[in-house]
Subunit: 343 residues, 4 copies
């Protein structure tokens, strides 16, 4: 049975394993002072058009979010996110565990609006008792969002403008960045994103790596002691080569972008299949996650042939399910889904 | 100018000062091992009908909430509260600072509904990814709420039933408990409340004391090491006599309840005054906080004679303001407000 | 029986109760925006010779230490203290609870030496793996120390110089500051102390107040959002008047200093008594805490007449006990001890 | 130049890469619900003789320590460790960051003594003010220690007995467990260790894996919600297969133990080489870390041929350096060091 349950079902791009094998017995210093880290850092700086960037490699997304957020906030500050933001829902309270509130904004299709952001900040500062409240200290957004959607360039600029008004850093969670940048609907490229935000991370785990996320402070603006913070959060691998080498491979000859393209191309095929068979898409996602509304019979029938993830139950009894494609999804897998839908 | 800004504008009931003076130079051991603490503890046990209760005296509400909540939750758990709950809004992220998420429920007039609580818990446990989420570990409610409203007995019982279904402790924030119990709309008494919940606190600061809140674990069910937790939170006064003696006075001859009654009686006068002059009450509060909707002209005019607190701005441009009475509010103060409304 | 158990056995200086009574029903705004706070702040600024100082009133010492320390450290930093420092031993891990390590230095009579401080910092920075260690981010010292001793002016200057070398703020815990400043052995006055450190607190609880400590940032150098941090730590009293008024009285006509003098004078009498009777003093304390070495028989005999605190057991089976005097200790109490020693 | 800087200089055992490649495109569920995890768990249960064990795979040692310790302690408790324990020194305050004090005991050659442990706990409980102190809530030891030494069986049993007296869980940090178990000086085997402690971890990162540590609760005694705690600490890899498959390979046909043996055999050769050339060993380590005392000339000369780690400076001006061997150290590398020492 073919699985569209998520975008981390397979191992990694074979080039990574090949390179791991080639360099396996080479002795390298630990904790990111190795040549793989230096090389991967340079390639990411080049790809993101920010030669001064501070780049760090961490092993997973939740720890990346917690480490970045806790390093940038003052103790009494919170981070603003969409109500469906990954940090607000699916990280087991990891941000709160570092002592900080996640301040949520209303979301639509996984995005908060620049207007709601501005309103919330204006209201906070106008509130006579705001000194008794957790202060908004940074803005977090996912690109793509947890619903596969993308902020438009206008939205990103407007969010940036609000951040500037209030002196807040903007942090972009790019767990699935490769699929965002590869989407036809994407209005920004990697250098554009780097220029727009204060810190972002390039997701490896979901875009072809075994593990690893690359945190980028585009203007060399990592907070003092960030390396020690990574260690303190338990996010520092002794064998820094493991994550770095993977990014080195992914950012060689544009592999990362091609992997993103595969994921999106397969997703568009999946979407078209569902539409062609008259299924209702829950929302319009231009990236690798597709959300379909199924009734019980449909759900039961498809689940005999393909695995997917259950997202939420609708009041009318139907279910929103997610089909995720990835860098590894093949034409055969899509064809097999097509057959299931036909059958 | 008379102030209805809050219920902590004055010092304390004069009996407290008198008793402080009488006992001032008596030597007493520190940290709650004094005779005042023993006496106050017994009086509270008697008043709450729970002779086995563990009773502790802390100096303020925010620290009380943080200490109780952090002591009862496992590290990965959060506390459920109404979106307007004090811990969710006005404690500067103190609960998150201890590492725990505040999980909010929709509110109406400051209360969450038992049905919403049950739905949220059922949804959490039905969610296939709930092990990736902060787990609901206790339920918090304010009695009265931040909007002066009271849960009915049916609501309290229904909330208790949900807590029992899910094995969650129920914690009642009684910062203004005296005003709740004294209300004609209150359907529960102190022993009833003690029997219903797992831990609650009796607010002193807002009901006649200079400072101090009494935490009660009705069935001797304080978590192990709670005393040390109080110390760790910086909530342990060296001169435990200060808070204990105040509660000893407040729980002598029913003073606490009479102070609550004064606050409520004055509030009802205030409410009647506004209604008589055709003002719109924002909601129906049966306790010492009254919320009135004012337009700009009204607000400006009344504020020349009486101080009040601004609560929130309505979309139509009008403002919700709060008039709080207290144990100390006098007939003269109400009369002076009456004059302001007439003038 | 007379008690020398600690310096917080009595209530407060009678002038405080008198003033509380006089102002009791005056309406005042909450959370430190009242006139008592403004007045006390000015008096402290004047007494400490720092007209630009930020001054805050908190209710207890542990919460003061946790709030100040957590507000000044970066997340990965720790605070340096003597191994016997109050934060290192007797605050139930309150500093660690805020996420920060207490880095201890060897102590002698309650003090660390400037040389040990410098050595530790030099060693830290010379250690090739120091980025894997909690970084020293501030220096904490108690004045007087937990053993009643005082750093000399030379020591204080040398510590300051080390702090300057390493860019570390210096924080002085003045829980018993009044007894330090009143000692004949004290080589610094309050303005001198204020000029020397970056933040200190003036202890009220142990020097004549019912509760309360005054945090002073002498050069208006409170960190941004410190008020909100106080709230977040549960250290903000709604009735800010309670702590402020006490400091207002204590800093009127030099009362605070006179209370300190009484404590020290009585302590010197106690010390002389013990010496005259041939008892061994554990160390030479010039302030209000006197440590005496007693064998079992002596301990038993004295404890029939006077209460004291047991400090530590010596390898030879004898016990170090503490006799604390205070602002409230009377000649009669000392005489009664004298009798006990004679008897 | 050959490196003996640490035991994580190389990638991983080639069998791991081979198995990763073989299974690379197999679709597997995330977060540890895959078949690799199930298989590795069973093999570890079998090797440790604890069929009921809860086994979890985390990506690194610091996060493992923080997650285990924070999950087992109550909020006001601390963890006891040797002063040189990894959690006490080289984890950037990660344990304190979770809110808990590391309570240190004197160490000798990296070990604390059972007698010191018992004395410290007896003193704590005898201290009349112990409720004002962070309570010892568990005992942590490294096996082997940070100095390569091993607790004897008598010591381990005595430590266990103290833990039983005081009701404390015993946690064994096995970052280098493979080198400990393979040592001729080791008096315990894996089932023996599992029977003796309440939780331990089997280090992968330093014994042949790219990353990963296996936490074992031998009697199915993982605390409730431990999976969510792992997620909350950012220690949960989406591709759980990565760590699990590595342990599956390591625990197939005793590979883990053979890798440990290689490390120890090479270390003994290194030790013998130094001794044969008249160098002073800093202490007697029977495992893969060898500590040698070098004067400046020796240090300079050897460092031209071999890399090693600088450990500490001795008062006499000489330096303690560490030569670490590992699963990957070859006879050629040892020979090359021999040549350097001869040269």
């Amino acid at each position: 049975m073919v699985s569209f349950v998520n975008d981390y079902s397979e191992g990694c791009h074979p080039d990574i394993l090949r390179r791991l094998a080639e360099t396996n017995l080479e002795q390298a210093p630990g904790y990111g002072s190795d040549r793989f880290t230096a090389s991967a850092r340079e390639k990411i700086r080049a790809a993101a058009g920010c030669p001064e960037a501070d780049v760090f490699f961490l092993s997973g997304g939740t720890q990346t979010n917690a480490t970045v957020i806790a390093s940038l906030l003052r103790p009494y500050e919170g981070v603003i996110a969409a109500a469906t933001g990954h940090i607000a829902v699916h990280e087991a309270g990891a941000v709160e565990y570092t002592g900080h509130k996640v301040i949520t904004l209303p979301q639509r299709d996984g995005k908060f609006s620049p207007a709601d952001l501005r309103t919330a900040l204006a209201a906070f500062h106008a509130d006579p008792s705001h000194a008794h409240m957790a202060a908004p200290g940074m803005v977090y957004l996912s690109f793509p969002t947890e619903y596969g959607t993308l902020y438009t360039l206008d939205e990103l600029r407007a969010i940036r403008a609000v951040c500037d008004t209030y002196g807040l850093p903007l942090y972009v969670d790019g767990a699935r960045l490769g699929y965002g940048l590869a989407s036809a609907a994407c209005e920004i490229d990697l250098p554009g994103l780097a220029a727009l935000c204060d810190v972002f991370y390039i997701g490896g785990t979901k875009v072809g790596a075994l593990c690893g996320e690359a945190v980028v402070f585009p203007r060399g603006n990592a907070p003092e002691g960030f390396f020690t913070s990574i260690k303190q959060h338990g996010a520092l691998l002794a064998k820094g080569r493991l994550t770095a080498l993977q990014f080195d491979v992914l950012f060689t000859d544009g592999l990362y972008f091609r992997l993103g393209e595969n994921g999106v191309r397969r997703a568009m095929q999946v979407r078209d299949l569902f539409r062609a068979h008259g299924y209702e898409m829950y929302l319009d996602s231009p990236t690798n996650q597709q959300f379909v509304v199924l009734d019980a019979a449909q759900k039961e029938r498809i689940s005999r042939h393909a695995a997917f993830d259950t997202w939420e139950n609708l009041p009318d009894g139907r279910t929103v399910v997610r089909f995720a494609t990835s860098w590894a999804t093949t034409q055969e897998q899509v064809d097999s889904l097509a057959e299931a839908l036909r059958g």
